[in-house]
């Protein structure tokens, strides 16, 4: 998928760059992008180590198992395949919890761990649960949209929290839509795989 994305994006950029007269800037932009990948990785490394370590501690002392049992009625119907396996169940629970709480940047490292566990069942090709999990990752349901409120307060909003209720409704609906859509597109996805 990454190869195809690269192909489409680079060709689009070239065509539009020539078309809009921005072609000269493309070379520098490409090199900037590569440099930024290193910056992103560096900023991710410490965080990933911390959260994956903390997650392991919570797993070994049973906190995650308790949490996955609590969230089971909610998550089992969404990830039926993953729920058969204990490690999948626990890593998915941890990632979803971090995502809902907006826990710093913990959700990406935990999501990566969960994806690796989910991927053990079918190396090389995405399973239905992996697709659902990734789609939910792009449409997270965030109970505490703290970053958004901080941005609004910084911009001088009269009521920074006023958007919270529509954000909840929109997040919940988008998450449900994402789950439904990844289910509906399963057959098409299998044919093109």
């Amino acid at each position: 998928m990454l190869g195809k994305c690269f192909f489409v994006i680079v060709l689009l950029s070239l065509v539009f760059g020539l078309f809009t007269g921005n072609a000269a800037a493309l070379g520098n932009a490409a090199l900037d992008g590569a440099a930024r990948a290193v910056e992103v990785t560096l900023s991710l490394v410490g965080m990933t180590a911390l959260w994956c370590g903390v997650m392991r501690v919570f797993t070994e002392c049973g906190t995650v198992r308790l949490l996955s049992r609590l969230l089971s009625p909610l998550l089992r119907p969404v990830f039926p395949g993953a729920w058969q396996d204990e490690r999948c169940r626990e890593t998915v629970t941890a990632a979803v919890t971090a995502n809902m709480l907006g826990l710093g940047n913990a959700s990406t490292p935990l999501a990566l761990t969960a994806m690796r566990e989910l991927g053990r069942a079918s190396p090389g090709e995405a399973t239905d649960d992996m697709v659902t999990f990734a789609v939910l990752g792009t449409a997270p349901f965030n109970i505490l949209p703290a970053t958004l409120i901080a941005l609004r307060r910084a911009a001088g909003s009269a009521a920074p929290c006023a958007v919270v209720v529509p954000v909840w409704i929109c997040s919940l609906a988008a998450a449900l839509f994402g789950i439904l859509l990844s289910r509906l597109l399963r057959k098409a996805g299998r044919q093109h795989a």
Partner: protein, 178 residues
């Protein structure tokens, strides 16, 4: 409300870490080596992601320099107004799937230009909540898992983003008028 939405989130990370500190201090079982094993695995994942990220961010950086977003935004403005999406937020909505940093900057700029409590900025706020950088998330998640064939993940993620955009504007109309 302020406590729940501003003070509590700020305390969440230290609270979770404090919760982890209890088992770490226990002498019955060696939780520190559990932490180290988890952290080491996390490190390997993060560093292993770099080659894929180089490929992805190089392409995305070129795309944002090519003027593609501006072109698309100016050509889709009419169609979007027809379905109730303010044209002002189109550049943001089109950047959102590709870059988190750029879309956050775009949102801040939108608030500065129109005011944080005006209709376009409110729509943008409601959109920022439930949409994350779809292309980035899907690539990173599957690269981290070593999976090349992602099936319908990207189309489903992008369509969910479109759904969130339309719904966000509709909700703003209901809640704030405009």
């Amino acid at each position: 409300m302020t406590f729940l939405l501003e003070t509590l989130p700020a305390l969440l990370v230290p609270l979770v870490l404090a919760l982890a500190a209890f088992p770490l201090a226990s002498s019955k079982k060696d939780y520190v080596s559990a932490f180290r094993a988890g952290a080491e695995e996390g490190l390997r994942t993060a560093v292993g992601l770099l080659p894929s990220l180089v490929l992805l961010l190089t392409a995305l950086s070129m795309l944002s320099a090519s003027g593609f977003v501006e072109f698309l935004a100016s050509h889709l403005a009419g169609a979007c107004r027809a379905v109730g999406i303010p044209a002002e937020i189109l550049p943001l909505a089109l950047t959102r799937p590709f870059s988190g940093a750029a879309s956050t900057a775009g949102y801040a700029e939108l608030m500065e230009t129109y005011g944080p409590d005006r209709f376009p900025a409110l729509c943008a706020a409601v959109l920022m909540g439930p949409s994350d950088t779809a292309v980035y998330v899907v690539s990173v998640y599957f690269s981290g898992a070593g999976v090349g064939r992602t099936r319908h993940a990207l189309p489903a993620a992008l369509l969910t983003g479109v759904f969130a955009l339309v719904l966000a504007c509709l909700l703003c109309r209901l809640f704030f008028g405009g």
